[in-house]
């Protein structure tokens, strides 16, 4: 049995994230740890709400703190209720220190992290990917399953392969962690920047490896710019896909997962992403 962690912001609770987390945990017979990042420095009130002519109002502060706690507890109660109803093995963590540090620490001791792709742990709007998400994806110690805003069961696996070690690593990790998807249709997409080239890097080794894990797999070779061609190609897709890609180390960003690529995928589709990096 694996340990999946699902991360939540109690103030902006993502129902879709919970739905994906429960669906995966139930299907994989995994234990689900719901991590509420109750970062003390992240509040719904602003400091100036507390300041009056005669200083800081302790009474007002206590009221606002209680309000925040109530909202966060309501979100956690909802998770307890749904998990109990569905019958998955679960527990709740309330992590009160800085959200990013707490979550990165949790990833060391988890098999998979599930988090909504809009998560930012700020109250102001941030362009995707948020700073929080970038830092998380750069430093996570476990693969990340990024969920979209609405839940739809996964019907197909799309492996994005650019020949780099990290893209192979992501495919391996998917296979170890979610073999429940091995029976789904699987397509591997590679993009050659050369207009006419029709090759897949290390094709023989790749096929020998993949066929052990995915008996039926289609190979698609596109030509052009990856972020454009992949999006155009997938616009014709009718099934709900899980996109699998290697990523994302600040010092060695994969060719695929430049923010333009991730941005394009997240903006164009309601697909979840499975992201792993090997360094």
């Amino acid at each position: 049995m694996q340990k999946i962690i699902a991360a939540f912001d109690g103030f902006k609770f993502s129902q879709s994230n919970l739905n994906y987390a429960i669906a995966l945990a139930a299907k994989a017979n995994a234990h689900l740890t719901n991590v509420f990042l109750d970062d003390k420095t992240y509040t719904r009130y602003a400091i100036y709400d507390l300041v009056f002519e005669d200083g800081v109002s302790q009474k007002k502060m206590s009221k606002l703190v209680q309000q925040d706690a109530r909202i966060r507890n309501e979100a956690a109660s909802k998770v307890v209720e749904v998990c109990s109803q569905i019958g998955v093995s679960f527990n709740i963590h309330h992590d009160e220190n800085v959200a990013l540090d707490e979550l990165l620490h949790e990833t060391i001791f988890a098999d998979l992290l599930i988090i909504n792709n809009k998560e930012s742990f700020t109250h102001h709007e941030e362009k995707y990917p948020s700073r929080f998400l970038q830092d998380l994806l750069s430093n996570t110690q476990t693969p990340v399953f990024l969920t979209p805003d609405s839940y739809k069961p996964i019907e197909k696996i799309v492996l994005l392969f650019d020949g780099t070690p990290t893209s192979v690593y992501a495919i391996k990790q998917l296979n170890y962690l979610l073999p429940i998807f091995n029976y789904l249709p699987v397509e591997l997409i590679t993009v050659n920047t050369d207009d006419e080239q029709q090759t897949i890097p290390d094709v023989n080794l790749l096929k020998e490896f993949l066929h052990r894990h995915y008996p039926v797999i289609n190979y698609t070779i596109l030509n052009g710019m990856a972020s454009v061609e992949i999006v155009n190609y997938l616009k014709m897709e009718t099934l709900q896909c899980l996109m699998v890609l290697g990523a994302y180390r600040r010092t060695m960003v994969s060719r695929w997962f430049k923010s333009s690529m991730a941005d394009a995928l997240v903006k164009a589709f309601n697909f979840p992403l499975f992201i792993a990096h090997n360094k």
Binding site: M1, Q2, K3, A30, H31, T33, H105, E106, I108, F109, A110, D111, Q141, T142, P165, V168, Y169, K172, Y176, L177, D202, L205, L206, E208, F209, R212, N278, K279
Partner: protein, 269 residues
């Protein structure tokens, strides 16, 4: 499974044979060439001094062919699906690195892998291989019992936890064996770091778990302690890239490999 061409590791093959009985595998026999100094990796912080190896003689070529033949015969005998890779040219480690990228586990016979290279044990070439590869590695001695006890060498680092996770994914047939989670740290600090977290993870994977804090300096005595355990496998984090200091830090691991008594699983990204 990597061979250096000259030396056939019966121990490593035996390990695969046991795995195959529980869960059929595809075994790729990688018969690496002999190497010369120019073809070694040039890590600035390299772990070894220059090594010179004799060029291949006709007799040596025959030895390699015989080893490949033995590999084929054993695979057929034990119904193991197999592939053979040979004729790599001179660049042994880059080839091994690429093969490992597309593999789940690399198995190396710890005593036989380039045993003619380097005076220390484990030899420098084996150490370089352990640094280079891109999948989990199992280093197997020639004489041992197939594991019935898992020893998780947890030192609080992310790499040691990563190794434990990879072991659970890759060798599920061993997860029901008795398992010792040992806190194998170098210093005398007397608590297990993140004890609640590691237990929460490990109890999900291992059904028969005991947590034990080693009450001795593990840097000095861990290998000896392991040696006393019958039919064990040690699970440890990788050496990492900051080569020399890491090698020192993981000296207990090298000691275990050197003892040729216990298989070692090394998690590697």
């Amino acid at each position: 499974m990597a061979f250096d061409g000259f030396h056939f590791s019966e121990g490593a093959f035996e390990f695969v044979k046991n795995l195959n009985e529980a869960n059929p595998v595809l075994l790729t026999g990688v018969f690496l060439p002999q190497v010369n100094y120019a073809n070694l990796w040039t890590y600035a912080d390299g772990v070894g001094s220059p090594i010179f190896v004799n060029v291949l003689e006709d007799e040596d070529v025959n030895t390699i062919e015989k080893n490949i033949e033995r590999f084929e015969t054993l695979c057929v005998k034990y119904h193991i699906e197999f592939r053979i890779r040979k004729d790599f040219g001179d660049l042994a480690l880059p080839e091994l690195k690429k093969e490992s990228r597309f593999a789940d586990v690399l198995i190396i016979g710890g005593e036989k892998f380039y045993e003619n290279m380097g005076s220390g044990e484990p030899n420098n070439y084996l150490k370089e291989a352990l640094l280079a590869v891109e999948c989990a590695v199992i280093v197997v001695p020639e004489k041992y019992n197939f594991p019935t006890l898992n020893i998780l060498a947890y030192d609080g680092s992310a790499s040691s936890v990563f190794a434990i996770k990879q072991f659970a994914y890759l060798l599920p047939e061993l997860l029901n064996n008795p398992t010792l989670l040992t806190y194998a740290n170098m210093n005398e600090n007397n608590h297990i770091p993140d004890e609640a977290y590691i237990e929460e993870l490990v109890t999900r994977h291992f059904t028969d778990l005991t947590v034990s804090k080693l009450e001795f300096d593990s840097r000095k005595y861990f290998a000896t302690w392991v040696k006393d355990k019958k039919s064990a496998i040690v699970i440890s984090g990788s050496f990492g890239r900051s080569a020399f200091s890491q090698l020192l830090k993981k000296s207990f691991l090298l000691e275990i490999i050197k003892d040729h008594n216990t298989p070692v699983f090394i998690g590697h990204k």
